[in-house]
């Protein structure tokens, strides 16, 4: 019996020739990432551990992206704690406001995520890195403290579910719709403790940005992480960025999968996840006419250049509905500059939207655009739990950037075709 890619990556990092799903191992990680909300607890635990040095200052990444630029005094203190730690331990990859981006857009862009690597971050969307064939997974603050001191994290080797996508994507359908369709099908615990491996002709033809979006939301199905075998699309992205050696891992043809699910996407229209669960998914045609107050485009899910290009293609020469506020958050400073150079920002401002510096802010109801009681948003982010973006009696619908942009024009949820 062969091994899955996830088993191979964990085996290699645990110093073993073979591991099997269900086994517990301590593995050596290639990178530990923390941010301004999870890392202050990590630092406390690091002190409690009695650690006096980090395991490798080049293998720690600190990104103050959640409540920055500092949303209030308490957040400013937290950002300061992280900054001072980075200075004290001479952390190589500390990204200050102005140079930082939303962590899961930033790390791959900076060449800090490579195929075959084992990466942990104290943020659940660390699963995004599966798009490059890495095993990236979210851990807690205490896990991160021990990982920073020792380079080690404990794992239960997960089973893998293979998702095979066949058919041809319709216009305006992207990675976001594929992952929403999957979560709608299997539920928010449909891949609990498991790896979601995506493959098939649709994935082969999918852009790298759409792949990041898909892998980003694996956690919304309860998965440990997602994985896409690195192909030319992934390697083209990695080659110019990589500053260190890496080893590509893929699943053996006779690997043991927990399940294989085939999905034909030829008839798939853009998908919308309705309140209050990412699994409450319907085709956009079934939720048309829901009025909205706010549109959010961006985040670690859909804040990449392809997403901004799609939104701009719809908003070009149009004005937002007078009742709608639209907030656009690019993933990184580099994406911001690309959007600037391509004239996208001008299109957004002309339409009446806000274009912000990168931050996680509104996605988790932190700052920069909370919803009041009774307000409703359509958002390209990843979660629509009760109170996620503000008041417990506000509502969030999740969609791809095309649907979100079009809905901003009509003031209600709509298909992009309606504004073309």
């Amino acid at each position: 019996m062969g091994m899955t890619a996830a088993e191979k990556i964990l085996a290699r990092h645990a110093g073993k020739s073979k591991v099997k799903a269900g086994e517990f191992v301590f593995a050596n990680v290639d990178l530990v990432m923390g941010n301004d909300i999870t890392f202050p607890i990590t630092i406390e635990e690091f002190k409690r551990l009695g650690a006096t040095k980090v395991f490798d200052r080049d293998k720690i990444v600190l990104v103050p992206d959640h409540f920055t630029p500092n949303k209030d005094l308490k957040s400013a203190e937290n950002a300061k704690i992280v900054r001072e730690f980075a200075r004290k331990y001479e952390i190589t990859n500390y990204f200050e406001v102005g140079r930082m981006g939303i962590e899961h857009a930033l790390l791959p862009e900076q060449g800090l995520v490579l195929p075959g690597e084992l990466i942990v971050g104290s943020d659940s969307h660390t699963c995004t890195y599966g798009a490059l064939g890495a095993f990236g997974t979210g851990i807690g603050s205490t896990d991160a403290a021990v990982a920073m001191a020792t380079g080690k994290v404990w794992f239960r080797v997960p089973e893998t579910i293979k998702f095979v996508f066949t058919g041809k994507l319709q216009k305006w359908v992207s990675g976001k719709d594929l992952i929403l369709a999957v979560i709608g099908k299997i539920g928010v615990d449909g891949a609990l403790y498991k790896i979601m491996e995506f493959c098939g002709e649709v994935i082969d033809n999918l852009s790298i940005d759409s792949r990041f979006t898909m892998c980003n939301m694996a956690i919304e199905a309860g998965a440990k992480t997602a994985f896409i075998a690195p192909d030319e699309t992934a390697l083209e992205y990695v080659r110019t960025r990589a500053k260190r050696e890496y080893k590509i891992e893929t699943s053996d043809p006779d690997a043991d999968y927990a399940n294989v699910i085939e999905i034909n996407v030829s008839n798939l229209e853009p998908q919308v996840a309705c309140p209050h669960s990412p699994a409450n998914v319907r085709p956009v045609s079934a939720v048309k006419n829901v009025p909205i107050d706010q549109v959010v485009i961006g985040s670690c899910t859909n804040g990449r250049i392809e997403d901004l290009r799609v939104a701009a293609s719809i908003l070009k020469g149009k004005k937002l509905h007078p009742n709608v506020r639209m907030l656009i958050f690019p993933g990184t400073q580099q994406i911001y500059r690309e959007a600037l150079a391509e004239g996208l920002i001008d299109i957004f401002i002309e339409a009446g939207a806000v274009f912000s510096t990168p931050t996680c802010g509104p996605c988790l109801g932190g700052h920069m655009g909370l919803l009041a009681e009774g307000e409703r948003a359509i958002s390209t982010t990843n979660r629509n739990f009760i109170g996620r973006m503000g008041h417990p009696k506000s509502e969030v619908y999740l969609s791809n950037p095309a649907v979100a942009a079009a809905s901003g024009i009509l003031g209600r949820i709509c298909s992009p075709e309606e504004v073309e």
């Binding site: 517990f24 301590f26 909300i37 999870t38 202050p40 607890i41 406390e44 635990e45 409690r48 551990l49 009695g50 650690a51 959640h66 409540f67 949303k71 209030d72 308490k74 957040s75 203190e77 937290n78 971050g121 104290s122 943020d123 659940s124 660390t126 979210g138 851990i139 807690g140 603050s141 205490t142 896990d143 403290a145 021990v146 001191a149 020792t150 080690k152 404990w154 239960r156 928010v188 615990d189 609990l192 403790y193 956690i219 309860g222 440990k224 669960s277 988790l364 109801g365 932190g366 909370l370 979660r383 739990f385 009760i386 109170g387 996620r388 417990p392």
Partner: protein, 162 residues
């Protein structure tokens, strides 16, 4: 074993429900405890008596990796969480910080809000005194148990990893 009152929750209770993200700039256990479950059950923190127990359906703690969630539950005075299943990051966070958790489908199905239970944290035995029923939770996997018995990941790491 002390008697505990049960607070019952449904399935897919997410970490935003356990502790809304706007409080993630707080680290203090007691302060986080005051905000526990605020969005879905206002006033929860003041109604809880220290030593009470949360019982929930499947996939408890889904969503973000915030360790603030199990810390808030501890801070609210909850002795342990019994659920049909747990989301994976929440599960490992509980083991790492020493918040006792038990998987026991039958106990969750048979227990109502407000029932009085006795939970043996060492053995996983759950006695529902109100209904005169007895259950046995699934034991933790041996590896996780070692970490839990050491008092959490920090104590474990001090002994075995440093």
């Amino acid at each position: 074993m002390n008697k505990s009152k049960v607070w019952k929750f449904g399935k897919d209770i997410d970490t935003d429900a356990i502790i809304p993200a706007r409080y993630l700039n707080i680290q203090d256990e007691k302060e986080l405890g005051l905000r526990c479950m605020e969005g879905i059950r206002p006033g929860f923190a003041v109604m809880v008596t220290p030593g009470d127990v949360i019982m929930a359906d499947s996939n408890f703690g889904c969503g973000s990796s915030r360790e603030h969630a199990p810390i808030a539950i501890k801070g609210a005075g909850i002795k342990c969480v019994v659920a049909k299943s747990f989301a994976r990051i929440f599960y490992r966070n509980c083991i790492n910080i020493g918040l006792p958790i038990f998987e026991c489908q039958e106990a969750v199905d048979a227990t109502d809000e407000g029932d009085i239970v006795l939970v043996n944290l060492e053995t996983g035995e759950i006695i529902n005194e109100s209904k005169n029923l007895r259950f046995q939770a699934m034991p933790l996997p041996p590896f996780a148990r070692e970490i839990a018995e050491a008092g959490g990941l920090i104590e474990y790491a001090k002994k075995f990893l440093l």
